[in-house]
Amino acid sequence: MLTCDTYHMPTTLRDALELWSEAPEGSRLVSGATDILPWAREGRAGDVHIPSLIDVTRVAEFKGYSVANGRVRLGANTVYQDFLTDGVLRRTLPCMPFCAIWFADDQIREQATLAGNLANASPVADGTPAVAALNGTVELARLEDSEIKTRQFVVSDFILGPGRTVLQPGEIITSVSLDSAAGYGGSFQKVGQRRSLVISVACCAALVRADNTGCSFDDLRLALGGVGPRPMRLNAVESRLRGERISRRTIYAAAQLAADEVASRSRQEYRRSVVIGFVKAGIEEALENQSDVDVKFEETEHA
């Protein structure tokens, strides 16, 4: 059971930063709250008393998103369901709807924020590989001599390890910025203990663009989750395939390179075999989901 002395709902960034910097030791920020409530139960943290809970979901500056200069800036209150229901986000972030559909369920997605998912820094978060594939950066704000200062981190630098980030006392995530990948095909692979409403054992986000002819890879973005302490871009696989003729054999050969990246502490052999399949399926499904080009696989072989 989670209990607290005070529950704050600031409506401006300044108020939130002031409350957070003055909050008693042991206080917590709350975003969607879909993780903190299950955490404070038997088997995890048990009964927890927190002096001050500061809920940032009413902060006006965290609302909505903007698209400019090839980047999509998502306010910190963007919830997972937005990636399924918002037309602009679906077009510009083509791997996010597939990530979202495997994330929890429709009801939890209405509350759970992408920023909160990143702040938790779980090695098996669904959001981190998708954000890494979209060259995501996280913006943090803090008060310095009562002025609001910000700093930016790419997501793989923002997360330091399981449950650890660069966030300093008094600092709050204000937004997550991602590449606009309109025109790419996206996909998301995930395996867990069961199919639905489950935490990943491993997951893989893919963004792929075939050239106008549909015969060659123009660009690829691939990232894995659950295979190490931080999300991981598969640079070797990406560069091996960029510019190559699209064939199942080439994809399969490149996917083998991904297995070498697996560095998780448990079930390493299992995860190695899973990621090969994930990278292959991820690329193939992303190609299928690229709407404006009819992709042609090179025939003559059977993968």
């Binding site: 059971m1 709902m9 299950p38 139960r41 903007s66 009801q107 939890i108 409403l197």
Partner: protein, 627 residues
Amino acid sequence: MPKLKIDLEVNNRKMSKETDAHKRLLDFLRDDLNLTGTKEGCGAGECGTCSVFVDGKLVKSCLMPVAKASGSKIQTIEGLSDPGTLTPMQRAFHKTGASQCGYCIPGMVMAATSALRENPKADIEEIKERLGGNICRCTGYTKIFEAVELAKAVIAGDMPEEALNEDDVGDSYIGHNVRRLDAPSKVSGRLRYAADMKMHDMLQMQVLRSPHPHAKIISIDTSEAEAMDGVVCVITSNDVPEQTDGFGVFVHDQPIMARGKVRHVGEAVAAVAAEDLVTARKALAKIRVVYEELPGVYDPEEAMKKGAAVVHDYAPDNIVKHIPVRKGDVNAGFANADLILEDDFSTQQVEHAYLEPEAGIAYVDADDVVVVISPSQNITHHRHMLSHILGLPINKVRFIMSPVGGGFGGKEDMIYQGMLAVVAMKTHRPVQLNFTREESIIASAKRHPSRVHYKMGLKWNGEITAIQFGMISDGGAYGMSSEGVMRKAAILSCGPYEVHNLSVDTTAVYTNNTPSGAFRTFGGMQAQFATESMMDMAAEALEMDPFEIRRINMMKIGSRTHTQHKLTAASLDRCLDAAEKESRWENGPPNVRGSKRSDLGGDDTRAPCTLGARFKNGKSTDKERVA
């Protein structure tokens, strides 16, 4: 407790309320507004019994701090329709028999309502996906999906509203769709389960449970907990009359709270009754128990060995019950066999996971009758046991069975009602205990994990000549229903096949694991897993069709069962015919079928869950709602 002021609108009523700052929306709706149609099945966002609309979006109210709901419009199951009426969705649930125990149903109706509000044209795959956050343990979902499709058709005008009315049954109910009498109370959320009931001046109870599987209790110091503001009493086994403290379905080996030692992790050691839940939980942390850990035994075969730790003094060999069945001459049967197969089969522990966690209320009425209200599956037996434990005549103990939000055998054991009764007698105040999901899992009985050693003799023509069947079951720390489960396992052991020579032994053994008890099939499942696997393996060895070997051995009219009951009716032949036809079975031994089987897949088979159905279903939700 720190307070919070919130303004909101619930079911079209504006309100301004002061409530505890830490509360979840779920607690606020249930405790402050008495809107108990919204249930708590897990408290962790897994089950969906607490689904409500907040500003038109369905959320899980157990995951929402109440402060987040301030300024919002909330709609609960009670607000879907006016009193005395039902929405088309609720009527469809009634029509198709979608509600059984009913505990998931308010949340399920909310999720179904949300699915069609989000996309009135959702196809069945999208409906399944949108209901993915809600769990039902009774129906297998089929009737729920039928209800949603029916409601969809009626709402869209594709079917007349009369389609929601009860089918005409003519002059016989048999063969007709008959509506359940209790469904309206369930689809509307009006039915009150034990955790939904409230009494004036009622205390809340919480239970301290053992962290050890086997340990002597050296001392329990409750003084600090008892001194807390708001704590009314703390009880241990010392508060129970000593001579008679024991319950169980067959052997009364379980004290209502651990006495002298604990025998499994999660066993009740002490209980607190306080003015409110938060105080009761805080008081638990102040109880000091000194344990001396004892060697434990965790494997039933190890438990039967000489020198193993003894779980109960009355059973030095750790045997709960051994059931032997003998028929014919098993040695002669094996001597007469052309082929003898031998193998081992094991099954695991299984949790019932009914959506309603255990809950109950006890009070003492003005005539000194101790009354216990709980979803007990065995109230008469519980009443008799409790009268002995409390040292009261039977007419001073009363059990009232509240609606059972799923039991499946798991609510046959009196694992908490005794504690409630003791507190009610000590305080003369009503007292309630609502288990958390975690507590339900740790403290309730499970399906027996079993190991079967199987030996089967067969003629080349497929006829079984003899079976030797030995089952060892892990009974866990207490006897509960183990004896009955072993009897049923033995009676059903060799399946619906006529076996002239058999030797069957089923044994349940005490260990320091979570107790095993009743669970659907009551031992039959473990036995049939072994027998039916063995039949398929025999078919493979004899290169026979699996249906054929079953027809050769099946019980017919005139057959004698394993326990020598002469059958005057038998229907396995018809079952096999129907199963063979409906599965489009291709004749042949089970091992020569391979990947080209045409009897797999097809329209009437269920594909595994793949998410993303809505992506294929057009752009109906393609709106820019954020910017």
